[in-house]
Structure formats: C-alpha cells, structure tokens
C-alpha cells in the first residue's frame, strides 16, 4: 500500500492553492483510503480505535440487509403487478430477474443521492476550509431507502440538495444539524410533490413493456393505506398479515418494508453499540402502548389493528432503528433518550391513526421530536443541577 500512498502524496494539491475544492476532494479521497497517521500531542497519548468513519460505516453495514431486501422487493412487487409471479411465490420464480429489475430501479436513486449530496458537501468543505465530515455517508444511503421506487431522479437530487444545505450545512455541518437530514429530504418531497410521494401509484413500478398488462384488481396501495380503510381484515386479504408484513413482501418505500431485514441491521447496531438501545426500545414501547390504547378505544377498524401489526407496517421499524437513533438530532442524555423515543412511538401511531392523509406518521413524529429533543435534555440537565444543589442544603 506504500505505492498507493506515494501516488496519492504526489497528487496532493496545495491546501491554500488556487483550487481549494481540489484539495478538499483530494483530502476526502486520501482519508477514505488511509486513516491518516496523526499522533496525539496534547492530552491522552493513546486513543480508542474508533473514529467517525468507522461509526458511519457500521450504520451502512446495518442498512445492507434492508437495502438488499428492498431491491429484491421492488422487482418482486413489479412482477407481482404484471402477473408474472403469483401471490405467495416469494422466492421460487424469477429470483434473479426480480433482483436485477430492482437494482436497475434502486441503484440510480442511490447514485443520485450520493453524487449530489457529496458534491454539496465537498463544495461547502472547500468553502469553509474544513475536512469532509462523514455524516452524509449514512444520509446518502438513508434517503433512497425511504423513498418510493417511482420517485423521479431529479426530485431525489433536489431533495438531497435541500436536505444537505438547509437541513445541515446552514447549521454548521455534521454534528450541528437540528433535524435528521434524510427525513428532511423526505419531508421536503412529501410536501413539495405530494402526488409523487403518496397515493396508490408510486409504490410499485408498473412500467409495462409491450404485451404486458396489470393483473386484475391491482391497486398499488400500501398496506397502511388499506388498513386505514378496512383494518386487519383488509390487510389479511391483501397478504399483509403480521407475519407477511414482518417479512416484508409488501408495497412501501424501498427499504422500509421488511421488519426482518431491519431487525438484522438493528442487531448489528446494538452489538456494536453504535445506536442507542434506549431510544430503539422506548420507541417500540411507545408505539406499542399507543396502539394498545387505540385498541381499547376501537372507534374504527384501523384503531383495532393489533399493536404488533402497527409496528411492522409502514416505516415504523425503519424509523425507530435508523432515524430516531441519529445521535446528533436525538436526545443526548440517557434519561432524555427514554422520553424522546417513547414520544416518537406515541406520536407516530397517533398521527397515523388520526390523520389518514399522513399515513407515514413516523417521519413527522421523528422530525417533531428532533425539535423537542433539546427541550427534553434541558429539563433532564436542569433536574441534575437541582439534585446536586440539594446536596448542599440537605447537609446545611
């Protein structure tokens, strides 16, 4: 690897040269290839092996099961819609066709998301004269996974620019943002181009070639939209029972459908300690309890949906595992994390149930709690201060 190092060193542009962007790009590439051998000089002489790149890469690893499943499911849903695959035949027929079809639909979205997002990051880094910070490595993967497959690529680009600039860079870059970057992109699309982000037409790719036609009775609706209308019964008739929804062969955003694949990712995040188990657990608990309360109320069929069913539908699991646990925008104190996660779960189900126009309550719940997180932390820290002040007066 010495040779590669030498080549890179030879190419190194001047940091304060005519083209600051050239240096930023070089620095980004170099630190990608090599963890630079900076040594400690003030403070500790030895350091933990972990750095931000490794942290972010762990999250990307955790996203891979959901990504692969999502790619496959895009193909599966397509072939299901045109009748090449019968319902229930998940893996036997056309396995590679589904995967390749899905990859051809999903990879362009990923490429646009990374290309545009990193481009913006590089420009800001060069402008502000700091190194590329790694935050977008994860955002760039999250954005495609929470979009419907039929979203036009230019929208992905516009949303990414909006999310990176307004969601992050204006606050000072990675570590400084107030709301989750990927969800900012999704919210932007959701409100700017609602027809491309909701309804029944966007979740399954139904581009037909000559001689193909949609199967009879094809609706394209997501199970969530169905559940609003008909509750458990309609979910069961559209093959989205608890088990089927948990495995994930249902329509929905690219990466969100399989609670199973998301669970694998969650396992990695928890073992490595990258994501907060406090937030993850309390989000699910919050959602479960809220769904249970709706069960008791039971004013409509959607309210009667079992809590487990609520948690495996839509983006709930994905949001709880990958979005709510974002350390920058979430609550930072351990006590606060319980409250923060719990309320995300509660609000996600409330929004979902009370406002059928926003079946994706998770996104709004997390964005709302992102805003509230500093307030939660404020009160947690204030309680700590009070407790320690009391220490004096007790003794006096």
């Amino acid at each position: 690897m010495k040779a590669l190092d030498d080549i890179m060193q030879k190419l190194k542009p001047k940091a304060d040269g005519k083209f600051p962007l050239a240096y930023t790009v070089w620095d980004g590439m170099y630190t990608f290839l090599f963890v630079p051998g900076h040594t400690n000089h003030k403070g500790v002489h030895i350091r933990d092996g972990i750095d931000l790149k490794r942290t972010m890469v762990m999250v990307i690893f955790a996203l891979i099961p959901a990504l692969l499943f999502g790619i496959y499911n895009v193909g599966h849903q397509h072939f299901l819609a045109i009748g090449d695959v019968v319902t229930g035949d998940h893996v036997c027929t056309l396995f590679w066709d589904k995967f390749i079809f899905g990859a051809l639909k999903v990879l362009p979205i990923i490429i646009v998301s990374y290309g545009v997002g990193l481009g913006v990051e590089f420009i800001f880094a060069a402008f502000n004269k700091h190194a590329i910070q790694e935050g977008f490595l994860v955002s760039g993967m999250l954005i495609p996974l929470i979009l419907p497959v039929d979203v036009p690529l230019w929208m992905v680009g516009v949303a990414t620019v909006f999310a990176v600039v307004i969601g992050k860079e204006v606050f000072g870059g990675t570590g400084m943002n107030i709301v989750n970057v990927a969800l900012t992109a999704r919210a932007f699309l959701f409100f700017a181009y609602p027809t491309k982000m909701s309804g029944d037409a966007v979740w399954i790719n139904t581009s037909l070639e000559e001689g193909q036609q949609l199967v009879d009775g094809f609706s394209g609706a997501t199970p969530l939209a169905q559940a609003v209308k008909g509750g458990t019964e309609s979910l069961n008739t559209m093959n989205a029972s608890v088990m089927e929804a948990a495995i994930g062969f249902i329509p929905g955003s690219i990466g969100e459908t399989s609670a199973l694949a998301i669970g694998l990712g969650a396992l990695l995040l928890l073992i490595t300690g990258i994501a907060s188990w406090r937030i993850m657990l309390s989000t699910f608990v919050g959602g479960y309890i809220m769904a249970l309360l709706f069960n008791l109320w039971g004013a409509n069929p959607f309210m009667e949906l079992t809590p487990i069913h609520q948690l495996v539908l839509g983006g709930f699991a994905f949001g709880a595992v990958f979005m709510a646990t974002d350390p920058v925008t979430g609550s930072q104190t351990n006590t606060g994390k319980y409250i923060y996660g719990f309320l995300i779960g509660v609000f996600a189900i409330i929004i979902r149930v009370f406002n059928p126009a926003y079946p994706e309550g998770v996104m709004l719940a997390i964005l709302f709690m992102n805003i509230m997180a500093p307030l939660i932390d404020h009160y947690v820290v204030a309680a700590n201060i009070k407790r320690r002040l009391k220490r004096v007066s007790v003794k006096a």
Binding site: D5, G49, I50, D51, T174, I274, V381, R388
Partner: protein, 449 residues
C-alpha cells in the same frame, strides 16, 4: 467509620509492559529539572540564578501570587541553565546534581506535638507543600484555606500504573507520620482511599486516625476526584485537599528526618521497555540514564501514564507528580482502510472491533489518533466511563462557550482534567477533553480571584 465505594462506570485499558514487582536499580541522576508547567496556573518567580549552589531543599522559584509557596531543589548541586520560552516564560530550571546530596535542614519533630501553623510553615519552607493539591481547580492548595476534608488516594488505576502498595510497603512509620501532619491541617476528616479490588497493603490498612474507604471497580476508580464525589462531594464554596499516598511519604520523611527527600520509586513501563520494573530515582531526574540499554527503538517517552502524562524527549526529565515513566510505540503510520479493518489489535470501548471478543487481551497500543478531530456526533460515550453524577459533554460544551454560570451548575468544581482522560480516550470525535476542562478550570479560577 469507613465507606465502601464500588465504581461501575469505567474501563481498564490493559496494556503490555506492566512493571514486575521488584526494584531493579537505583539511578542517581546527573541532572535535575524542575518545570513550572507541572503546576497548572502557577506564575513562577525565580529565587536563584545560573551558577548558584543549592542544597536539597533550597528554593529554586516561588509562586508570584503567594510567595510562601516555594519550589525547592530535590538534590544539591549547581543551577546550570534557566530555559525560557515565549515572553520569557520560565520553562525549566536545570541543575547539575552532586554525587552526594547535601540537605537543608528543616524542623524535625513529631507532627502530633506541633501546631497547624508550625506544620504548614515546615511544609512550605521545605518545598513539600506543592504535593498537596486542592479541588476545585486541581491546583496547589492555598495554605490559608481551611479544607473540609483531605483525601488521599492509595490506588492508581491508570493503564500500567505503579502499585502504590508495593512502593510504600514497609514504610508504615513514615506514612503514619505524614498522616499525623495532615490530620492537623483540617478540622474535617482525613480520608485514606484504599484499593478495594484486592487486599490493601498493610501500610494503608494499618493507618490510624484516618477514615479508610475501600474503593473498587475499574479506572477511574483511582482518581481522587471520583472518590471524593462518592464519599463526600465538593460543593460550591468548599475546598478539599488531595494527595497521592506516595506523596504522604515525602511529608512523613520531612518530619521524621528534617529534610526534603525527593527520592522515589518509579514504575518504568510500556511495551517498548525490555524489562519493565520499578526503579529508584529522584524527582525531576533525567531519564536518559534510566532508559539506557533497556528500551527498544521508536518509543515515545511519557512522564506519567498514557492517559494524563506529559510527553518528554529521550533527554527529558521526570515530572514533579509522576511515579511512572511510560514508553509506548510512536505512531504516525497511515492505516490503509483503517476505518474498516477488523481490528484485532486495537482496544475499543465500542463494539466495532473484533478485539471485543478477547476481553483479557493485553494490547500494544501506539500513539496514533486513529482518526481525525470532528464535531461531537456520538452521544452516550462519555457517560459510560464517567462515574460522576455530572453530564460530561454538557459541561465541556459550557466550557467551550465560556459560560461560567453553566460550568458551575454542571459541576466543574468537582472535576479535574484527569477525570476526563478516559472520556477523551473513548471519544469518537477525538475531542481534546482534558485540555478543555483545564481551560475551563483556569477561566473559573481567574473569574473567582
């Protein structure tokens, strides 16, 4: 009455090259250096000039803000050089050591028969006083304060740390004499905080007239700040004095023998040391005689431990408070795709390295940063290794924005930079936490003065 404290948050960093429990040699230094930088916030003023002959116990410089606090020569010899830095700041006072040490004589008496004022005077004049430090600010204690308690830590949980029990073993009388002097200095209690992970050495277990507390758990259990926090915390307006148990021996010798005896045992440790063991030498000694023929190439020399110590050159000198000389491999090599390597050879408090599967492994860590400095991103890391009822990241942020009120409220009076050393080790964003805490303490001290 004693208090048993078990620390749960923290971690022991197991490094290769821990000292064998034996003294291999005695090194009489040829050169001694006293560094004002060993004493945070000190404004030194010289008491000698180049060419002056001094004895062990003769003042070399003193504190400009409190001229009673003297810093005296650990050996007899001749002042050869005064090294100054920017703005003529004194960096080092260097002297050539005599082959045989001559001592200034100080009051030799049983401290139980002396008054508080007499004890303080003897400590100040002999230059032993700077061993007594205080919370808040983690600086040399102010002799005119009346501390609510004195805490002595008899365990060091830092990586490769010396065993205080082994060093002090058999010195019961001197240790008790030192304790007797300290008992006179406070109206409150003197706490001797001993190792609860194993049986404390008899020299500590048999100590009298002090409260003996057993401290167990991983690092930073040995940090006196952690111990104070769990035994009897410092609040705003209160002062607590702190010492290492080994410093009590110096006080004991002063009253027993009437001299400033700066000889000490030092743990000579680290993976670059061929035969790690304890050596006898003197405070401020040049290390080149110690390292000769016993280290491998390419090491970094650290006076102190790998977390809080000071980097020195191979011709450098031991620090005032350091009972440890560590030699670690110097880093500097670029690591190809280091952020994705499986990492069997790296110790991490996160679960992202395969080394996690080998909990008892001893590591050979080098001085690489293993990454670059970033904004705070990951949360909850500091809290895992910070056994205080204090929010560490919030405290550091309050220091960064220079908010004195917030610092006070968030508990800065209780902490010292060393308490943040493990946080700094663990930090994904490579934040220089100890440096920030020191800046915060200095800012606060200035504000309160």
């Amino acid at each position: 009455m004693s208090k048993d404290v078990t620390i749960k948050k923290g971690a022991n960093i197991k490094l290769r090259g821990i000292a064998d429990k034996l003294h291999t040699a005695t090194f009489i230094p040829s050169e001694i250096v006293l560094k004002p930088s060993d004493f945070p916030t000190l404004k030194p003023k010289l008491a000698v000039k180049v060419g002056d002959k001094v004895k062990a116990g003769t003042a070399l410089f003193f504190n400009k803000e409190n001229e009673n606090i003297l810093f005296t020569s650990p050996v007899s010899g001749e002042v050869t050089e005064i090294i100054r830095g920017e703005k003529r700041k004194i960096l080092e006072v260097k002297e050539k050591a005599d082959a045989e040490t001559q001592y200034e004589s100080f009051k030799q008496a049983d401290p139980s028969t002396l008054s508080k004022e007499e004890i303080i005077e003897n400590l100040l004049k002999s230059g032993v006083w700077p061993f007594i430090r205080q919370r808040p600010y983690d600086v040399i204690a102010n002799p005119s304060d009346s501390p609510k308690a004195i805490h002595i830590t008899a365990l060091d949980t830092n990586p490769l740390a010396p065993d205080y029990g082994f060093i002090a073993h058999g010195k019961d009388v001197i240790f008790q004499t030192g304790l007797n002097a300290l008992i006179k200095l406070t109206s409150g209690k003197v706490h001797l905080n001993v190792n609860g992970n194993e049986n404390a050495d008899s020299v500590y277990a048999s100590a009298k007239n002090v409260q003996i507390n057993k401290i167990s758990g991983p690092h930073p259990a040995g940090n006196v700040g952690v111990q104070i926090h769990h035994i009897d915390p410092v609040n705003k307006g209160e002062v607590v004095w702190t010492l290492k148990a080994l410093d009590v021996l110096v006080i004991g010798k002063l009253f027993k023998e009437g001299k400033f005896d700066a000889t000490r045992s030092v743990a000579f440790v680290g993976s670059k040391v061929k035969k790690p063991a304890y050596v006898k030498t003197i405070l401020g000694a040049n290390i080149n005689v110690i390292i000769k023929d016993n280290v491998e190439e390419g090491g970094r020399y650290i006076s102190g431990n790998p977390l809080t110590g000071t980097q020195i050159s191979e011709n450098g000198h031991l620090g005032f408070y350091d009972y440890q000389l560590t030699v670690l491999p110097e880093g500097g090599n670029n690591q190809f795709f280091g952020w994705i390597a499986p990492g069997f050879d790296k110790f991490s408090l996160s679960g992202t390295f395969f080394s996690k599967l080998m909990p008892n492994k001893e590591y050979d860590l080098n001085t690489n940063m293993n990454g670059e400095e970033r904004n705070f991103v990951v949360t909850g890391e500091y809290e895992k290794v910070f056994p205080f009822d204090i929010y560490p990241v919030q405290l550091i942020k309050s220091i960064l924005v220079d908010d004195i009120d917030a610092m006070e409220n968030l508990g800065i009076y209780e902490v010292a930079p060393e308490d943040f050393a493990l946080c700094e080790y663990a930090c994904t964003s490579k934040t220089p936490a100890q440096h920030y805490v020191r800046e915060g303490l200095n800012a606060l001290k200035k504000e309160m003065a």
